[in-house]
Subunit: 230 residues, 2 copies
Amino acid sequence: MNRPILFRQLFEHLSSTYTYILGCPITKLAVIIDPVIETADRDSELIKELGLTLTYGLNTHVHADHKTSTGELKKHFPKMQSILSEKSGARADKYVAHGEKIKAGNIELEARATPGHTNGCVTYVNHAQGMAFTGDALLIRKCGRTDFQQGDVHLLYKSVHEQIFSLPDDYILYPGHDYTGQTCTSVAEEKKFNKRLAKSEEEFVQLMKNLNLPYPEQIEKAVPYNMRCG
Amino acid sequence: MNRPILFRQLFEHLSSTYTYILGCPITKLAVIIDPVIETADRDSELIKELGLTLTYGLNTHVHADHKTSTGELKKHFPKMQSILSEKSGARADKYVAHGEKIKAGNIELEARATPGHTNGCVTYVNHAQGMAFTGDALLIRKCGRTDFQQGDVHLLYKSVHEQIFSLPDDYILYPGHDYTGQTCTSVAEEKKFNKRLAKSEEEFVQLMKNLNLPYPEQIEKAVPYNMRCG
């Protein structure tokens, strides 16, 4: 079997967050995307069992619904650097700009700025495997909310259409969350079946205005923590 | 991108069950493994959106913790046939014997008898992609219980060691359940790190004797239903 990369998708039940590990099978260097503090021990144990060394801990954005574990993971992997968008306004060891590449062995991720849920949102694209990690810009058949944390409904529509829907149809999209037990989707599916973003911009704006979502439970603790520890 | 098969892993929260869809991108024929009644609508909607036609609904065994949706799915896909092991003793449209191949377009699954959790347990192996669907014979770092439904601790040890651990190290293993937010594992990892089955048979037997697990909540309803509708 040709296994070009080591890949794991992990779930954290409390905030329904997906975390991703991508590892280079040759150099054993790895990155983790959107790790959660509650599952830091599970994740570091798995990374060690896989024989990997964490190079980067990436956050797609400053999360409002959970604390990131990038700070925790540094205790297990002292050489790991945290990464955030330069637009996030939060503290990180390294900032990425739109179009910049992050490398760990044969893992290469292109950072695409996809603001709208927050203004520092980034989608990380692995072109070699045809995978993209969309954070909360695009969820399966849905998207992240736009009603706080510099949310901008017009900007989110533009980000998804220009930066995610412009990827090849068969690219697999891995979201930051899912609440329905689905694990991934594809560009083709979301262009056709996304219940929000497959609509016109006008319909999307109306729909997002009328979501009437509750205030996120963890926001008061999560955002200040993630601003310092992103 | 070369996408030799369409593949989806799906989760049902109530019973922590994983369901799998494998589809042929050319003929659009597909199989579903271990579908759950609560998520039958989600699954059939997704299968239709993916443009797939269900040929077979496979159960790895007669489940004690949830009702299968193979009966429900036939309403959406009237040509679908349910499949179970010939050793299960339950009703199904088609029975598979050890070593038999199930085909749907370019999807080929080898049925390997892996009794011990129940005596009709089957692991389905897709050699082309290096994937195996282990049901409850092997869970990530764990295994199914052996204290009811013809459970046999010695037989489970033999099944896993002879039929699953004999697969190539880099084969990815997809379990019937996970309770910790992990989605898959590999043969190499389980041989090394499985907290039960990486031990000697004697240690395994002792460990399984002392699990003191509660009686499964859904068993009184699920087993009779699955015996008729497997």
